[in-house]
């Protein structure tokens, strides 16, 4: 059975669904938003390289560096004893992952929480996810999935519906996205979820290029009248550095964020604000 490619497992999460949650971030994403706080999900790279730890960069001599490729030696930096190189993802088979998730079973019970699958785009790993999901179902653990819902194959979504207690749909309304069939796919998948009476929540990351009027009409088209508005932040900068990717700060001004928020309210939308 193929394994799950996991970027990280975060316990004690309080924003990704009801109660206290363990969020599993899965690798892979069809989008590559420039403000993404998990760029490792789509970077295509396998390792972080933390040059702040590299002794050569720091100007500290070490005998242990002598055989390193950075010093003209034969040893790949993947082998760096100072952990300059760290794998981005770890492969889990569903059994091991389940064991990890069950650590917080009593906390899930106490808080009404559960597991949230996020990413990247978790739907991309739907196949190896299924056995995990069925185990979670059997253990009676609440499962949320944070997804763009951009999955052309409707059957996949359909297949997952019985396992998922809550769909958190991350809306890609920013003009930077260029997937031509995005709205078509979203519409059709949302239709499926609605038909099956699935519980759906919506999220939108606020960046300044979002135009309130356009967003309002898009939301109307999609039949959405409540969503969480997430203020974009710059906490992922060090990850971009470690991936060797250029970082652009999309953090909006408070004024722009609040103006947008007010316009949404005026349009009769219900909004929960999240600022970090």
């Amino acid at each position: 059975m193929s394994a799950l490619n996991v970027i990280s497992i975060q316990r004690g999460c309080i924003y990704d669904g009801p109660g206290v949650r363990t969020t599993v971030f899965l690798k892979g994403c069809p989008f590559s938003c420039s403000w993404c706080c998990n760029p490792e999900a789509f970077s295509g790279k396998e390792y972080y390289i933390d040059n702040q730890k590299c002794l050569k960069e720091l100007g500290v001599y070490s005998l242990l560096c002598e055989s390193c490729e950075r010093k003209g030696g034969a040893r790949s930096i993947i082998e760096c004893p100072f952990s300059v190189c760290a794998p981005i993802a770890k492969r889990y088979d569903s059994e091991d992952l389940l064991k990890e998730l069950l650590k917080d079973n009593s906390l899930f019970e106490q808080s009404g929480g559960g597991v949230t699958l996020s990413g990247g785009e978790p739907l991309l790993q739907w196949k190896p996810l299924v056995p995990l999901l069925s185990e979670l179902k059997a253990a009676n653990i609440h499962v949320s999935i944070e997804t763009t819902l951009y999955m052309r194959d409707k059957q996949i979504v359909e297949h997952l519906i019985p396992y998922i207690d809550e769909w958190i749909v991350d809306l890609k309304l920013q003009k930077e996205h260029t997937k031509e069939d995005y709205f078509y796919v979203l519409h059709s998948n949302l239709g499926l979820l609605r038909e099956s009476m699935s519980r759906i929540a919506y999220r939108l990351v606020y960046v300044e290029t979002l135009q309130a009027e356009k967003v309002i009409s898009q939301l109307q088209d999609l039949g959405i009248n409540a969503f969480e508005l997430l203020k974009c932040h710059s906490l992922a900068k060090s990850k971009y550095d470690k991936l060797g990717m250029p970082f652009m700060d999309y953090t909006p001004s408070d004024t722009a964020y609040n103006v947008f928020y007010r316009k949404m309210l005026e349009a009769g939308l219900q909004i929960v604000k999240h600022e970090i």
Binding site: Q10, G12, G19, V20, Y61, S62, L64, P81, K103, Q110
Partner: protein, 670 residues
């Protein structure tokens, strides 16, 4: 012979002189110049426990001024202090049973004293002298003239209060303050306050039923009491300002096993949320039945930045106390010494922090110098354990303690047995030790295992050199030891847990065979001296430089370990029965949790259910602390929790400020 005697006298005087100089220095540091120069006086007690000592106490009580503030009369005058002879330890961190004090009748207590015989003559004599001093004090207060009618009325009632139960909340608070002041006055330190919600509730209830008082008025009275107790915080504090041991314990079960969760519990939490004062402070006894609403209130209180409350897992602690030797029928009234060390309120004269801490890393340092290079890792670990046992044995020593006639008055077994509270009279006098720097030792050993034995990247010779030269010429290894190893203390990993458990086990086993002053000894994993001992300790193999602080209690040293992980780790440790002298996880919590108390509460509840011992949460963020260090004037009320006590950030020495900033940074990354 003469020379010898001279030498002895010289030694004794110099000790006394040193003690006096230190006391005066503290007075100058922490009092107004006027008070320190013209009013401060310390009375030197050469013979604690004797009649002359009791007479000295009586003299101090008689000569000290009273303080009229916040509507109450407080019998503590910080300008008069009793100093016990060098070589005698002042009685520290004791909590009287105020429930007993409030309804006490001094005459009845004196009547129930045993016959005066040869062996109890001094004890009974000291009690008579001190009781008379107490009565005289109350009378003198009542005969004084007061401009304010409130004080006048209170003063008039005072002599009578000594011989009867209190009739109202005001009286109960006044009687507490009267005796609490006297305990400070005669030279006891860290006088705890105990379970104020439980103790005061019946008096509040009586008032409310008689329509004499409402919720807000009662809250006002508690506020005045807290402000008055905190008024002399600098001079009451031992090493750092704020470290006065004035703990109010909330919650927990009562004698019948029912949870204390009354209106006063709520009142105290609300008060501390509103007041933001560092002294007194709160400890919350939690169990599975602690109501959600009370939890949430506690979180709100914490979120406000007052550093209170610290949480303790009473179920686990009481269980271990019984297994250690405390009586089952007593443990419901568990309190703590100054910071977090459990004791029985009113019944324990346990001295829980009298020894220097067992410095865990010394065991490895010594092993490195002793060992042959051929020794394998298992052999090294054995050697470390042997040394740790030796280090443990070396710190636990017999000590000469001060006497306490006042505490004896309010302890039935002292009265019955005719012995002083601190000298075989109290029900319990277990002694407590502390293990310092366990996380540093664990990380050092994990590094040696991985980099010396498994990967052969570092030699044992290098390790020795590092300890001696403070990583000179080995900056690369410092980096390796500090941040490259993925196994580290705080990680809920089998190897890490096993190693930690083995080391704890070694100390436990050793301590189990030791006694101090003839009493069994317990130990804890939380030592307050992580900065002071760190200052003079050489480098350790976890990447810590010489002079840097050791880890705080059982908190992780690494930024990659988040709250879920560390709580899991601390809950997974099994605490041996005698490991009950405080095991605190001290964590700087990201503010987002505090704004979501309905989600934080289950996280904490779950951790306690799984076996977490004690938890101290701090909420400051790094940026604020840095700014506060640079611009103290902007943050006059910034309170932080330091080692079980809270203090104004501005009052802390620079190295403590730096330590807090560094730790806030670590945890923010998590």
């Amino acid at each position: 012979m003469k020379r010898k005697i001279k030498e002895i006298i010289k030694k004794a005087t110099s000790g006394a002189l040193r003690l006096k100089i230190r006391t005066y220095q503290k007075a100058f540091d922490r009092m107004s110049i006027w008070d320190a120069l013209f009013k401060y006086h310390c009375y030197y007690d050469k013979l604690p426990g004797s009649l002359s000592s009791a007479n000295l106490m009586a003299k101090i009580i008689g000569r000290s001024d009273i303080c009229l503030a916040h509507g109450f009369i407080y019998t503590y005058d910080p300008t008069k202090t009793r100093l016990v002879r060098a070589g005698v330890e002042p009685l520290t961190s004791i909590t009287p049973d105020y429930a007993l004090i409030i309804n006490s009748d001094l005459r009845e207590i004196m009547h129930s004293l045993p016959e005066r015989r040869g062996d109890n003559s001094d004890f009974i004599g000291t009690l008579h002298i001190v009781t008379k001093a107490i009565e005289d004090k109350a009378r003198a207060i009542s005969e004084q003239q007061y401009e304010d009618v409130r004080y006048e009325a209170m003063a008039k009632r005072l002599p009578d209060l000594l011989y009867r139960d209190c009739q109202s909340l005001v009286e109960a608070i006044q009687k507490i303050l009267f005796y609490n002041g006297l305990l400070w006055q005669v030279g006891h330190r860290h006088v705890g306050l105990g379970r104020m919600d439980l103790v005061l509730y019946p008096y509040y209830k009586k008032d409310v039923e008689a329509n004499r008082l409402n919720y807000e008025q009662a809250k006002g009275l508690l506020k005045e009491m807290c402000l008055l107790l905190g008024k002399d915080s600098p001079i009451k504090s031992l090493n750092l300002i704020g470290d006065s041991g004035q703990y109010i314990i909330l919650g927990g079960i009562d004698k019948n096993g029912k949870n204390t969760d009354n209106e006063l519990t709520r009142m105290f939490l609300e008060l501390f949320e509103e007041l933001r004062i560092p002294d007194p402070k709160l400890i919350f006894r939690v169990n599975e039945e602690t109501p959600m609403d009370t939890w949430k209130r506690s979180i709100r209180c914490l979120a406000n930045g007052c550093g209170s409350p610290l949480f303790m897992n009473e179920t686990l602690i009481m269980e271990n106390m019984v297994r250690f030797g405390y009586r089952n029928e007593d443990v419901w009234n568990v309190g703590t010494s100054a910071c977090w060390e459990p004791l029985i309120i009113g019944k324990s004269s346990d001295q829980n922090n009298p020894f220097i801490s067992i410095l865990a890393c010394n065991a490895l340092k010594k092993a490195l110098t002793e060992m042959e290079d051929e020794l394998d890792y298992g052999g090294l670990l054995q050697l470390v354990k042997r040394n740790l046992a030796e280090e443990t044995r070396s710190v636990v020593v017999d000590k000469d303690y001060d006497y306490s006639p006042i505490m004896s008055l309010f302890n039935e077994s002292c009265i019955r047995s005719g012995k002083d509270f601190a000298h075989q009279g109290s029900d319990y006098m277990y002694q407590g030790a502390q293990l310092l720097g366990l996380p540093n030792l664990v990380n050092s050993l994990l590094n040696i295992k991985k980099y010396v034995y498994e990967r052969g990247l570092v030699s044992l010779g290098m390790c020795r050199e590092i300890v001696q030269t403070d990583y000179e010429n080995h900056l690369d290894i410092k980096q390796l030891f500090k941040s490259a190893n993925d196994k580290k203390f705080g990680l809920c990993d089998e190897d890490v847990l096993r190693l930690s458990q083995e080391l704890i086990g070694t100390v436990s086993e050793t301590i189990g065979k030791l006694t101090a002053n003839g009493h069994n000894v317990k130990f804890g994993l939380s030592s307050p001296s992580y900065i002071s001992r760190g200052k003079v300790a050489s480098a350790t193999l976890d990447g810590r430089n010489a002079g840097e602080p050791f880890a705080v209690h059982i908190s992780p040293l690494s930024s990659t370990i988040d709250i879920a992980e560390v709580l899991d780790f601390a809950s997974s440790l099994s605490y041996p029965v005698n490991c009950l002298n405080g095991n605190v996880v001290d964590y700087v919590i990201p503010p987002v949790y505090l704004n979501n108390s309905d989600k934080l509460v289950p996280i904490l509840r779950d951790a306690f259910k799984k076996g977490l011992y004690q938890l101290q949460l701090n909420v400051y963020d790094r940026a604020t602390l840095i700014d506060a260090k640079l611009h103290p004037e902007k943050y006059p009320t910034l309170v932080v929790r330091v080692w079980g006590f809270s203090a104004y950030f501005n009052d802390l020495p620079e190295e403590y400020k730096d330590n807090l900033i560094a730790r806030a940074g670590e945890y923010e990354c998590a």
